[in-house]
Amino acid sequence: MDHNKIDSDMWKALDEEEKDAEKVARPSLTYMQDAWRRLRKNKVAVASLVGIILIILSAVFVPFVWHIGYSEQVLDFSNIPPVLDIYNVGDDKYIYVTKEYKAIQVDADGTLLKKCTVLKEDVNNRTCLYELDGSQITVDYSLYFKAKSKYADLERRAQNDPSINLGEALHELESTKKCEVSVDGRVVEPEKQVRNKTYIMGTDYLGRDLFIRVIHGARISLLVGFAAALVNFVIGVFYGGISGYFGGRVDNVMMRICDTIDSIPTTLYVILFMVVLEAGLGTIILALSITYWVGMARIVRGQVLAMKEQEFVLAALSLGASLPRILGRHLVPNMMGPIMVAITMQIPNAIFTEAFLSFVGLGISAPMASWGSLCNDALGGLFTYPYQLFFPAIAISVTMLAFNLLGDGLRDALDPKQRK
C-alpha cells in the first residue's frame, strides 16, 4: 500500500445511493420460477420434455390423418419389412420376395402394388412359379436348403473326423443365397434397396401396418401411464393427507397398512387382479392403481407431518388460523415439487408394467395394440423379422428414457439442495 499523498476528494463521505452501486441486482424469483429456470438450463431434461410432447401429439393426432387403421389387415402383405430388396423383372416392373418366398409387385420407389399370382407351388422341389403381366417368375429356395443339409451332414461327420474344417463350411453356408429369382428362365439379382413406401415400419404377421400400431400402442401406453399416475395421485393425496393430518393412532394404523401392502409382491398381485377382473384397459389402470399408490401416500404424509411441525405453522395456529387453511396455503405449494417428481417417475412405471403385462399375455387384447403386446407378437419371429420388435422396443425405451430423464431433471430443478 502506498502511503503517498491521497487525493482530497477521496476523503469525502460516500452517498448512501453510491453504497449500493456495486450491488448486483439479482431478480428475486418465486420457487416455481426458479425451478423452471433451472429446468430450462438442463438440456437433457428439456430435450426429454420436447420428446414427450412430440410422442403425445403424435399419439393423439397421427391416427386421424394416417391412411391405414390400426386393425386393418392385408394378409397378402404380411411380414413385409420396412426396407425392401427389389428385383427388376423387365419393363421397369419390380418385385420383392418375402422371407416366405412370396413375390410381391412393387413400384420402383417402394410402393407395394399387389401379390403376384401363383401359378404353381412345388413344395418338394422348393420352387414357386408366379405370373406377372405375362412373364413367369420362378423363386427357387432350394439352394440354401441343400447347402444347409450338406452342412448338417458335415457337422455330423465332423464329430468323428477331426480333419473336416467346419468353419469353412459354415462360411460357405452363410454366403449361399437364400433364394434365386429368375424371370422367364433368366436369373436376376436384386437391383436395389428401397424403403417400403406403403408401410414405413413394415407389417406384422397379419399384414397390419406396424407404424400405426406403434402409434396406437403409444395411445394405450400413455393413457395407462397418465391415468394410473392420476389415480395414484388422488388416492395418495387423500390417504397420505388424512394420515399425516390426524397423526397419532390413525397415522400409525394407516401406515401399518402401507407397510403390509409394501411387503407383498405387487407384480404378482397386479397379475392376479388382471385374472380376476377380466383383461381390458380399465382393468390394467385399476390394477396398477390399487397397488402403486403407497409411494405417493408416503410422500404426502411425510410432507404434511413435516409441515405440521414447522414453527411458522405453530405460530399461525397460535394466532388462530385453522390447520386446514394453513395446509391449503402452505402445504400444497410446498408439496408440488416432490409430487411432480413422483408423478413423472410413476408414469414410466405404469407404462412399463402395462407393457410387461401385455408381453406376458395378460394385458390388452387384440386387435388393440400396446408396446408390450407388439413386442410379444414380434418375439416368435424375432430371428426372421427383427424389425417387428425393433420399432415398438425403441418406442417404449425412448419413452421410458424421456420420462426418467425428465423426472431426474425435475428433481434437480425442484430440489436445489441435491444439486452439486
Binding site: 403390509t260 411387503s263 407383498i264 409382491p265 407384480t267 404378482l268 398381485y269 397379475i271 392376479l272 387382479f273 385374472v275 380376476v276 377380466e278 414410466p348 412399463f352 407393457a355 410387461f356 408381453f359 406376458v360 399375455g361 395378460l362 408390450g372 413386442c375 410379444n376 414380434a378 418375439l379 424375432l382 430371428f383 427383427p386 420388435l389 422396443a393 417404449i396 425405451s397 421410458m400 428414457l401 426418467n404 430423464l405 452439486k420
Partner: protein, 305 residues
C-alpha cells in the same frame, strides 16, 4: 434385540396370513372355473369333480381347509397337470429360478455397489458419467426388450450363446445378465447417491480431521453408513428378480417358476396359481425379515421397540 426379532417375526406372520387370505379371496372371485373351458360336463360328473376338489363346500369351509392344508405344507393337486401336486410342480421349477436369481443377486450386489462407490468417489468425472449413463439405460430399457435384443445379437447374429432352454452354463448368461440389468442400474444409483450423501456428512470431516487415510475414511466410515439404505433395498430387490423372471424365463425358454406362474394363469390352474403366489409371498416375507434383522445389526440407531 430378542424382543425386536420376535415382533418382526409376528408381523411377518401377519403379513403372510394377509397375503394368503387376499390370494384366496381373489381366487374365489375369478370368473368361471377351471372346468368351464372343457367340454360341457354332465351335471353328475361336474358334481363329482367339484366334490373331488372341495369346490362344492361353503366358502368359509374351503378357506379353513385351504389354510390348514397350507399350514401342513399340503398345497393341493394341480387342476390341469393331472397326477402332479402343486408342491411337486413348484419344486421342479424353482431350482432354475433360484439358480438364475442367486447368480443375478450376487452379480447385482457386487457390481452395483462397486459401480456406485466408484462413481461417487469420482463424481462428475469419466467413471461417474459412464456409470450414470449405463444405469440410466439399465433402468429405462424394459427387460423383455433387453432380453430380445440379447437373443438377437448374441444368439442369432454372433452365435455365441444358445437361444433356448437350460442345457449348459451358456444358457444362463443371457437370463442372468438381463434380469440383473435393471437392479444393477438401480443399485449403482442408490449406492452412488448414498455414498455422496454420506461424504457430505460432518462425521466424515471428523474422520478426515483425525488424520485417517482416505482408504480408512471411505472403507470404514463412509461404506458402513452408505450401505444401510442399500441393504434395505436388497430384500425387495430379490422380489423384483423373481417376479421380473416371468418375462426373462418366457423369452429364454427357462422352465422356472415364473414360466409356471404365467402358464398356470393362462390355464386357469387355480391350485397352482395359489400355490405359487403363496410360495412367492412367503419366500419374500422371509427374505425381508432376514434383511430387517441384518439391518438392526448394522445400524445401532434403530430402536428395538
Amino acid at each position: 434385540m430378542g424382543r425386536y426379532i420376535f415382533k418382526r417375526v409376528v408381523s411377518a406372520i401377519v403379513t403372510i396370513w394377509f397375503i394368503m387370505t387376499l390370494t384366496f379371496v381373489l381366487m374365489m372371485n375369478i370368473p368361471g372355473d377351471p372346468f368351464t373351458e372343457d367340454k360341457v360336463l354332465s351335471p353328475e360328473i361336474k358334481q363329482a369333480v367339484y366334490a373331488k376338489y372341495g369346490l362344492d363346500k361353503p366358502v368359509f369351509e374351503q378357506y379353513i381347509t385351504y389354510m390348514t392344508n397350507y399350514m401342513t405344507g399340503d398345497f393341493g393337486v394341480s387342476f390341469k397337470k393331472v397326477g402332479l401336486t402343486t408342491k411337486e410342480i413348484i419344486l421342479s421349477g424353482f431350482p432354475y429360478s433360484l439358480k438364475i436369481g442367486a447368480w443375478a443377486s450376487l452379480f447385482i450386489i457386487v457390481g452395483g455397489v462397486a459401480m456406485g462407490v466408484a462413481a461417487a468417489l469420482r463424481q462428475n468425472r469419466l467413471t461417474d458419467r459412464g456409470v450414470m449413463i449405463l444405469s440410466t439405460l439399465g433402468a429405462t430399457i424394459p427387460s423383455f426388450v433387453l432380453a430380445s435384443v440379447f437373443l438377437y445379437v448374441f444368439s442369432k447374429q454372433l452365435g455365441w450363446v444358445p437361444s433356448f432352454g437350460v442345457g449348459t452354463w451358456k444358457h444362463y448368461i443371457g437370463p442372468i445378465l438381463c434380469i440383473s440389468a435393471f437392479n444393477l442400474a438401480f443399485l449403482a444409483r442408490l449406492t452412488r447417491t448414498s455414498v455422496l450423501e454420506v461424504l457430505q456428512q460432518d462425521y466424515i470431516r471428523t474422520a478426515r480431521a483425525k488424520g485417517l487415510s482416505e482408504f480408512t475414511v471411505v472403507g470404514k466410515h463412509v461404506l458402513r453408513n452408505a450401505l444401510i439404505p442399500v441393504i434395505t433395498y436388497i430384500g425387495p430387490m430379490i422380489a423384483t428378480i423373481l417376479t421380473g423372471s416371468f418375462v426373462i424365463e418366457k423369452v429364454f425358454g427357462i422352465p422356472g417358476i415364473g414360466q409356471l406362474f404365467t402358464s398356470s394363469i393362462l390355464n386357469r390352474d387355480y391350485t397352482l396359481i395359489m400355490g405359487i403366489t403363496v410360495f412367492f409371498a412367503v419366500f419374500l416375507v422371509v427374505l425381508v425379515l432376514i434383511v430387517d434383522i441384518i439391518y438392526v445389526l448394522i445400524d445401532p440407531r434403530i430402536k428395538y421397540d
